[in-house]
């Protein structure tokens, strides 16, 4: 019984740590595909990045981070500043990138 409880506990911890977070940033100056391309390229180089979504319509840059990793707000702001853009807000959410993609497509 003790072994079973231990296995359940390990399983729950593993499931929780596998749920990587999503960082959603509101960015000013996002008006063209080249802007989006540069930002996507910048964040894909970050070892903590699992996926990147850029939406010009929503002024959104979303980054899914790999499990057990995060990118600090200071690092995010610096990366976007170095790419030539201004961050207006940073939010950590439970939305997956796929869910955000679907939501953006549905609003078109």
């Amino acid at each position: 019984m003790k072994t079973l409880k231990l296995l359940v506990a390990i399983s729950l911890i593993a499931t929780a740590s596998a749920q990587a977070g999503t960082i959603e940033m509101t960015v000013n100056g996002l008006v063209c595909g080249f802007c989006a391309q540069g930002i996507e390229k910048t964040f894909r180089k970050n070892p903590a990045t699992a996926d990147v979504l850029v939406s010009l319509e929503n002024r959104l840059v979303a980054i899914a981070t790999k499990e057990g990793t995060d990118i600090s707000d200071a690092e995010l702001r610096q990366a976007l500043k170095s790419a030539g853009y201004d961050v207006k807000a940073i939010e950590r959410t439970d939305n997956s990138i796929d869910a955000l993609r679907s939501k953006i497509r549905a609003t078109k």
């Binding site: 960015v27 000013n28 100056g29 996002l30 008006v31 063209c32 595909g33 080249f34 802007c35 989006a36 391309q37 540069g38 930002i39 390229k41 910048t42 850029v54 939406s55 010009l56 319509e57 002024r59 170095s82 790419a83 030539g84 853009y85 201004d86 953006i104 078109k108």
Partner: protein, 220 residues
């Protein structure tokens, strides 16, 4: 006057070929990005350029500009190394505006005399865009001991719909270009359509004389 000067066609084909094989034009696209551009300006000017931007503030590279006078038989072939700099960018909520400046040095070959001369160039561009309207004003001054030319270009564009990163961007652009130094009499007008998606850009149209005006750009 030849619409496609023989010495430029191979260069354009090479650039177009490499672009189609890999996939993307402004002097600085994004940090750590490479930009390759080719422009055919109605037979009067043809230019190819390649730049690498270590940061979003500047890029370095080179190009080749061919100027063929519409007024007389004079031609200039200018090969140059260039530095582009972005001194100011405004990131607005749904718009962006930029000021670019550049300078280059190189060698000019004069077709009418066969002379080769040191040549230099300085220019600048002011642009403003949203996802619906676009405007840019560019000036480019070229000088060698035998000539000086200024090429001023105004572009105004409107998009029929607001594109996103994953969709094709379509723009209708009206261009006015003025040449000084005996290259072209009056103002050359062109109606263009611009298409771009991800890292590839194509702009093409015709001038009031029915000549081709086109530009290809790739960023990677």
């Amino acid at each position: 006057m030849n619409i496609f000067p023989g010495r430029i066609v191979p260069s354009m084909a090479l650039v177009a070929g490499s672009l189609l094989a890999s996939a993307n034009a402004k002097p600085i696209a994004f940090a750590e990005g490479t930009t390759v551009m080719a422009e055919y300006g109605a037979g009067t000017m043809t230019e190819i350029q390649a730049f690498y931007a270590p940061t979003f503030r500047y890029s370095v590279g080179g190009g080749h500009l061919s100027l063929n006078s519409d007024v007389d038989e004079s031609t200039r072939d200018i090969t140059y190394a260039r530095l582009n700099y972005l001194p100011k960018r405004w990131n607005l909520e749904s718009a962006q505006a930029n000021v670019f400046v550049w300078g280059s040095i190189g060698r000019a070959h004069l077709g009418e005399t066969g002379d080769n001369q040191f040549a230099w160039n300085a220019g600048g561009q002011l642009d403003y865009e949203t996802r619906r309207i676009y405007g840019s004003l560019r000036t480019d001054f070229h000088e060698a001991s035998a000539y000086n030319h200024r090429i001023d270009t105004l572009q105004l564009g409107v998009a029929p719909y607001e594109h996103d990163y994953e969709t094709l961007a379509v723009w209708f652009v009206l261009q006015a270009r003025d040449y000084t130094g005996g290259l072209f009499d009056g103002t050359e007008w062109a109606a263009l359509i611009r298409l771009f998606k991800h890292n590839a850009w194509l702009e093409a149209g015709v001038t009031q004389e029915g000549k081709l005006q086109a530009m290809l750009m790739f960023n990677f």
